[in-house]
Symmetry: C2
Subunit: 134 residues, 2 copies
DNA sequence: GTACGTAGTACCCAAAAGGATACTGTAAAA
DNA sequence: TTTTACAGTATCCTTTTGGGTACTACGTAC
């Protein structure tokens, strides 16, 4: 039988947006994907890149990404253990999405230790990120 | 004093991605933004577009979007009440992000009543969304 | 013989998110 | 006279998420 996907999406308008967000959800998935985009990493390498996340949490998020099929986990049967995490081809298709998210964050979110703030470039004294690089 | 934003981001690599996700987080924000992108809506108009969400949840998500400055809420002092929700200029800057999310969802997420599934176009019998439209 | 690095699990707890249900007040329509 | 639409609140409850701490096994370096 054929898959009436288009019909389903018309019954749940906005579903594709929500659907994508479902896979990026979880406190650390965004950052993990961001880092893995730039290359394979071992468990503890990732851990060092995310000092704030606990071992338990990192494992959990990675398992979820693995289950979605966005990230692959390769175990080398050596001792001490060696486990490598990498983006799958499917995961790589997220690149434009991650880039869009990063670009918006760069331009409109002001990140400080006290919290986050959101504003239009024209609102404050601040120039957009592009201008800062110059 | 100048704002050392670039430095902060370098200390929290991946932060811009996470930062953006923070504002899209919440079970219904994606869909709400998706709909408001296409024009102003009254409370109950939105409600009808999202049959699955309760009144309490819709209110909560809208208040959060309002507090972020992404959505505006205009109350007309008439009876019965009339309240309109619209994207702010800041909210409108999210358009490319929402589009990227929607595009990816369209191409790689298969949405069915039983749940969601993720796959590469080449993996299954299914063609990418673009092909279906033809 | 003690400590370190590797990649995790197991167990417990607190906080946040989400959801069901019932209620409000006014005006117009049936 | 009862019902409907509007835009919510209030209260309570369940589920999910996130975090802290301790523990494992193995081999190597000190």
């Amino acid at each position: 039988m054929s898959l009436p996907r288009a019909k389903l999406i018309k019954n749940f308008p906005g579903c594709p947006v929500e659907a994508t967000l479902t896979y990026l959800d979880g406190k650390w998935k965004g950052v993990i994907l961001f880092h893995l985009m730039q290359g394979t990493l071992r468990f503890n390498e990732l851990r060092r890149k995310l000092p704030a996340v606990t071992q338990r949490m990192l494992t959990k998020q990675l398992r979820e990404l693995e289950e979605s099929g966005l990230v692959s986990r390769t175990v080398y049967p050596v001792v001490p253990p060696r486990v490598e995490y990498a983006m799958t081809p499917l995961g790589m298709t997220l690149k434009p999405v991650i880039q869009a998210l990063a670009a918006w964050g760069d331009d409109y979110v002001f990140c400080s230790p006290e919290g986050r703030e959101l504003r239009l470039a024209s609102d404050g004294l601040r120039a957009p990120a592009a201008a800062l690089e110059a």
